[in-house]
């Protein structure tokens, strides 16, 4: 009889757990943070990503659906460093959710957790869309990503203290696998060290910093300013004098400029996944770096 009672109780408990879902509602601004939060939170987090790999995280609108999601979030996990400045502050202002305002424990900015590159000495819009807080694309350096994962794991543990052990356990397991993967990647990436790459936008500073790759030029004459034919001609001239390995761009950037420069110079244009979902086989942060290295190594002679 008692046995039956227990079974019944556990069925009810399961039903309740199913209906109330996970412990934390997480709103991730970009797919990389959605992926990281899922890894660290497991079944205790319900994660939505505001953007997909097809979208430029700098150019998103404060859509009604996003306001509704921020309204119900316990935690925002975003890049920060002004990457989402055109839409996130508007979402936060409109959603009326105290928990996720800047400075609250429910707002996690990844770029705040690490040292940033590209902090300008001065801000002048004639330099393009530059940001005082430096380059926000921090997830492309696995070393920084590890620091961010650690801070995020602790953040989850402090927000949902009853499950703290669960988050810490998952964090430790992630770090173990990540350290292993980093060693593997660093070895594989040896042939890329010191190589020169042309970029579309300044998305890759952190990847280059990690792998010791040199930026050979940018398709955008200035951050946020589209490529012009005059600028491409100038790039071509510079590349003929000192060639580069490839011209790289993300999935959400138009490949036109990269292809045109590729035709002009014979240097291959390579699309890199940039984030989780940026290529068919990039399903998490591990495959993101696997695929990025794979595609770059393919063009090494």
């Amino acid at each position: 009889m008692i046995h039956m009672y227990r079974i019944l109780l556990s069925i009810i408990a399961m039903g309740l757990a199913g209906s109330s879902a996970a412990a934390l509602n997480v709103f991730a601004c970009e797919p990389e943070w959605a992926s990281l939060t899922r890894v660290l939170g497991g079944d205790q987090v319900e994660v939505v990503s505001a953007t997909t790999a097809h979208q430029d995280p700098h150019r998103i609108e404060a859509r009604p659906s996003l306001i509704a999601k921020v309204r119900r979030a316990d935690l925002l996990v975003c890049s920060g460093a002004e990457l989402e400045i055109g839409w996130l502050p508007m979402l936060q202002r409109q959603a009326g959710n105290r928990k996720v305002m800047p400075g609250q424990v429910g707002y996690f900015a990844a770029a705040d957790q690490v040292g940033r590159l590209g902090i300008p000495d001065r801000i002048d819009r004639s330099m393009g869309d530059v940001h005082a807080s430096g380059n926000p694309h921090v997830h492309l350096d696995p070393r920084r990503l590890k620091t961010i994962a650690t801070a995020l794991g602790e953040r989850l543990a402090s927000l949902d203290s009853s499950n703290a052990a669960h988050y810490r356990e998952r964090l430790a397991s992630f770090i173990l696998r990540w350290d292993e993967a980093m060693m593997r990647w660093q070895e594989r990436a040896q042939p890329l060290r010191g190589k020169r790459l042309v970029v579309h936008h300044q998305d890759w500073e952190y990847l280059f910093d990690w792998l010791g790759i040199v930026k050979a030029g940018s398709l955008e004459p200035k951050p946020g300013v589209p490529a012009s034919s005059g600028h491409l001609a100038k790039l071509k001239k510079a590349l003929l004098a000192e060639p580069s390995l490839a011209i790289i761009h993300t999935h959400y950037q138009s490949p036109k400029a990269a292809r045109r420069l590729s035709q002009l110079t014979g240097i291959p244009a390579v699309e890199l996944p940039y984030t989780v979902g940026g290529a068919e086989n990039v399903v998490d942060l591990f495959t993101l770096f696997d695929e990025t290295l794979q595609r770059l190594l393919e063009v090494v002679p």
Binding site: T52, R71, G96, P102, D129, K146, I148, T150, E154, G224
Partner: protein, 400 residues
């Protein structure tokens, strides 16, 4: 062991940097909008909008080189609870440079439970376009229905309370209690609480590529002596049409945006439309300074709508098309006085079709060419407008 150390060091890093986390390095944000124009008209007659008393900033604009709305805005989080913003529009009116306080409000940012309170002077939440700054509009001028009913834009002083529901679909409900002194209200009746609104917005996504929002809104006011400054007659004694009575505006608005896979940077399309109907009952007098001015009872029925589509066909370049239409059926005890007040539609249904093309060199600059075939009054007009809109200062976050 190395794992422990890395966690500890990362944590101390994290704590140090959240302490200094801030929106940006400027406090407060200062931004400046520069708006310059060139206009060319086909005919020279005075502008009127038959069936509507013009007020506020309504008009067809100016000819030749002139300045539009140059704005200086200062905003910041006041503390962890309040956000504050002031926008001053600097414009030339008949040779005098005037500074107008367009917005001066505080807003709670962190009440929680989806609740937000705004107080001060702000753009009313009625309609869709009304809450956007003129420089964020897709055409150089306001739709005719905004021109005819609100004097281009409904701005008032008061209190706004809104609530976002904790639902999957976006649902916002709200209301405003307003002073009711500025056009199209007047007189700050009811001890300075002469107007109010109710509004609801609902919205969401359809797949990755589509986003939509639908709004319903209602505005009402007890109007005391609303004067119409936009309507001029060449006569001996200047008569100023003045309305007192009830005024109710009800509107529905929608916007639908498309971008392939949600990536708007290459191509995107926006379709938006709004419909408003206004019902007024009261009296109109032709105030000429005398003891017994001409007067009439007034029963006004006015409505209008517009529909517009904007297509960005490649980065930087957009084209747009807008159609405007107004209708009115106003009655009064003295038809002649109504006609003098500009409230007789003269058998005319104002309409206008506008074509627009613009080029944005960056997110901060825009050059626009616009041509309107304007049948909003008897003398059909072709209006060509060249405009630049530039924003200086930090990145603004725009509404949907």
């Amino acid at each position: 062991m190395p794992l422990r150390i890395s966690i500890a060091s990362a944590l101390s890093l994290a704590i140090a940097s959240t302490a200094i986390a801030k929106e940006n390095l400027f406090n407060p944000d200062i931004s400046l909008i520069l708006d310059g124009r060139f206009g060319a008209f086909d005919n020279e007659s005075d502008y009127e909008l038959p069936g509507f008393m013009l007020g506020g900033e309504a008009g067809r604009g100016e000819e030749g080189f002139h300045l539009g709305h140059n704005e200086l805005a200062i905003s910041a989080n006041v503390d962890d609870l309040f956000y504050g913003k002031l926008t001053a529009a600097i414009a030339d009116h008949e040779g005098d440079t005037e500074v107008e306080l367009e917005e001066a409000f505080i807003e709670t940012a962190a009440l929680g439970n989806g609740l937000n309170i705004k107080a001060g002077r702000f753009f009313s939440a009625i309609g869709y376009l009304n809450q956007q700054h003129g420089h964020a509009w897709d055409f150089a001028d306001a739709p005719l229905v905004y021109r005819g009913l609100f004097g281009n834009q409904l701005i008032d002083d008061g209190l706004q309370v809104s609530w976002v529901a904790p639902t999957d679909i976006y649902l916002q409900l709200g209301g405003e209690l307003l002073r009711g002194e500025r056009f199209p209200a007047g007189g700050a009746s009811n001890d300075g609480k002469g107007a109010g609104t109710l509004f609801a917005k609902i919205g969401g996504d359809i797949g990755e590529s589509h986003a939509w929002q639908l709004g319903l809104s209602h505005w009402r006011a007890e109007v005391e002596e609303r004067t119409s400054g936009g309507h001029q007659h060449e006569g001996e004694a200047e008569e100023i049409p003045t309305y007192s009575g009830d005024s109710k505006v009800t509107g529905i608005d929608f916007v639908w945006k498309w971008a392939p896979l949600g990536n708007a940077s290459q191509r995107n399309f926006k379709l938006q439309g709004e419909y408003f109907i206004r019902d007024e009952k009261g009296d109109v007098i032709m105030d000429d300074g005398s003891e017994s001015p001409e007067s009439t009872t007034y029963d006004g029925d006015q409505e209008g709508w517009y529909l517009q589509g904007i297509y960005q066909f490649m980065p930087r370049w957009r084209v747009g098309l807008r159609y405007d239409r107004l209708e009115s059926d106003n009655k009064g005890s003295d038809e002649e006085v109504l006609a003098e007040a500009g409230l007789d539609n003269e058998g005319h249904k104002p309409e206008r079709i506008t074509l627009m093309g613009d080029y944005a060199h960056s997110e901060f600059s825009r050059l626009r060419l616009q041509y309107a075939r304007d049948d909003s009054y008897e003398d059909a007009d072709g209006i060509l407008m060249l405009q630049f809109v530039m924003s200086l200062g930090p990145h603004g976050a725009h509404r949907f």
